[in-house]
Symmetry: C2
């Protein structure tokens, strides 16, 4: 046992080479990890089994220990611990993935997500109480990467700027028919309709989101032009001038990418434009951390561009632009965490302490993934024809400016 | 024989479904292809063997027949014929590639280009007489896709705009050390140095290009800051703040992509930025037309983004932006053809008629490839760190505007 514990300690020391983490072990002995730089994080771990679990599967072990109250902070917080961990992981030499992880990753990577599984996966997360999401999102309920057009923007402003940024890339005309795949609580669809006069169909698999989106369409007087429905994107029919999908592609499943882009190609008019906004990975394809897929987003996958582009090319779609938003999502998640923390007591009443810790771990883990872990958010613009969009990208900034002045005139 | 000829005619009829091509056969019979739309192209083919060769391998057969004077125009020109052909090919249902073509393509795709082969391939094209290139390029000798920032720009203006566009994406500072891989006749390196004060090393494998580039550096008083050499990029040593490569990646060879991006990663400073400007294909990976690889650019390959990104990701580089220039190269090639035609007599004296026809076929084929064949030009921006560049793309347009006003002040 003593030797086993010694091995675990040596392994943890190997993981953390910079920063300062102090672990208070059962019995009170203190294990120091790192090089002593930066503000120290001090955690108490109540039992040796928890320590071994963390060593065996750092992401999952840490998340579960924190959720279950077996890892308690004497100094610092979960975000500080994850920040040090992710920074060290990013600079670690990349060895081969261990056998079981590789097998698990291959199984997960190749899993085709059925309509039933897609609905279950969505319900798991997006059917959580609206009161929860209201506590940490902006008033428009944008649950995806904001666009900080200026560094000093508030989250609320940056979420409006994101919608403008996407609307500009869609190069919309008032007569356009638009499809919004994964419309969430309806914010994007409603803004596109209100700003441009377009007719928008929004589809979601979340009954909670649908209800909110429909109420908003009525309240905002847009029900005649914006139609929301509970529909799997694979079951949408018709032809659309514009297709937008924001923060939904993460749930499509890698094995379904070809089906996804073939469907986009089927639905898009010959002169059409599609814009896909999704979390991505800057590195080669690899597994999502198991804490996220187990507790937060079952079936989710973070694609590398090399995962996505073969399917786009085979579907006969043309890539016309790829923007990589790098630190915008880290900043977005920082804002969400601050709002979550400010409403933590209410959220604990709504759910419980364990739920709060689970979500703190999720939001903090996601943030450090964007800052240190190679995550990014890409905006992929697609057409069918070579001559659909203007010759240069200047129209994007021009449309964005025009939308912003139009809003200022309304306000 | 009669039945064989009938088969060939039926096959050609199947290839051309829209537009009007009239073939005057040996003996005077006229074979009408297409639906009679548009201005007719009338070609005389002197022998049945040529017709069979075109049917067996349309690109190569057509190019060789034209070069060798076995296909002569009674009405229209080679560009019109290629335009109709490429338009029909683009709308044809894509069948499986025939056996020999697939085998040839796999062999070509997987060929590793040695240093010796790279030098031979470069010499074949770029060591052609400077007097030839002077006849059809802009005065700065930019032999790659121009950037028509405004639709009414001249080629000369659009080539300067291209250099500004790239300089802006490099986010250059005066103290930067820049590497230009495949520097051509030196225009990009000299402009970057003159505009920003940076120190630039340019490498080429063409002795002809090197000589011109070095003379220009002296003549423009930039020899102290710009150094040109005859060096394979694989043999460059040191660390660079910025790396730029324009129109060279087409010659790297698909099997060498990992080596190429690993080398970029080795040479690039941690805070560095790289910008790769290359012809690409919007479709899935596939062979380059055999006329081009046989007569114009031996060893060249037109990459799909799905060819490029796996190697980028594995090299540990981050994609920070991908711009797809679509019709810019079609327009560039149109201008080159017009200038070539205006100096055709001089070029025929420099080389001969067959060379002129070979190059007409190359330039026209390339143009229609960009207009109808799914070719494009991508600009891939890369960094190592997540926080190297500004948060939004606004800096690009700002830097471009600043460079343009600085030039106006100088002029």
């Amino acid at each position: 046992m003593a030797s086993g514990a010694g091995n675990v300690e040596a392994f943890l020391r190997g993981l953390i080479r910079s920063g300062s983490i102090e672990i208070v072990l059962p019995g009170g002995r203190r294990l120091m990890l790192g090089d002593g730089s930066g503000p120290p994080v001090v955690v108490c771990i109540n039992d040796r089994l928890t320590l071994a679990r963390i060593a065996a599967a750092p992401y999952l072990g840490l998340g579960e220990a924190y959720m279950d109250g077996r890892l308690v902070f004497e100094q610092g917080a979960i975000r500080d611990l994850l920040e040090i961990g992710s920074r060290n992981a990013a600079s670690a030499p990349r060895g081969p993935q261990p056998g079981p992880l590789r097998r698990w990753w291959k199984a997960m990577r190749d899993e085709r997500i059925s309509r039933a599984a897609a609905r279950r996966n969505v319900a798991h997360h997006y059917d959580l109480s609206l009161n929860l999401y209201r506590r940490f999102l902006d008033p428009d309920m944008q649950y995806s990467c904001a666009y900080f057009a200026h560094p000093d923007m508030s989250l609320d402003e940056a979420q409006v700027a994101k919608k403008r940024h996407i609307a500009a890339k869609l190069d919309l005309a008032p007569e356009n028919r638009v499809l919004d795949i994964g419309c969430g609580w309806g914010g994007m669809a409603l803004s596109l309709a209100a700003w441009t006069g377009a007719r928008v169909d929004g589809v979601t698999l979340s009954t909670e989101q649908l209800q909110v989106a429909q109420s908003r369409a009525h309240a905002e007087g847009l029900a005649a032009r914006v139609n929301f429905s509970l529909t799997d994107y694979r079951d949408v029919a018709g032809t659309y001038d514009r297709i937008v999908s924001v923060g939904m592609f993460e749930h499509v499943g890698r094995a379904n990418y070809q089906e996804f882009f073939n469907k986009i190609a089927d639905l898009l008019a010959d002169e059409g434009v599609a814009l896909l906004h999704s979390i991505g990975s800057s590195g080669p394809p690899g597994p999502v951390n198991p804490f996220t897929t187990k507790y937060i987003f079952p079936g989710c996958y973070v694609p590398s561009l090399s995962d996505v582009l073969p399917a786009v090319e085979r579907a006969g779609l043309r890539v016309t632009d790829i923007e990589i938003l790098r630190l915008h999502y880290g900043q977005t998640l920082r804002c969400w965490q601050q709002r979550f923390a400010a409403h933590r007591d209410e959220i604990a009443t709504l759910y419980d302490e364990r739920f709060c810790r689970m979500w703190e771990c999720y939001l903090a883990g996601a943030e450090v993934g964007f800052r240190n872990g190679g995550h990014m958010n890409f905006q992929l613009q697609l057409t069918k024809r070579v001559d659909t969009l203007p010759l240069t990208r200047d129209y994007m900034a021009q449309a964005e400016t025009a939308l912003a002045s139009a809003e200022r005139r309304v306000a």
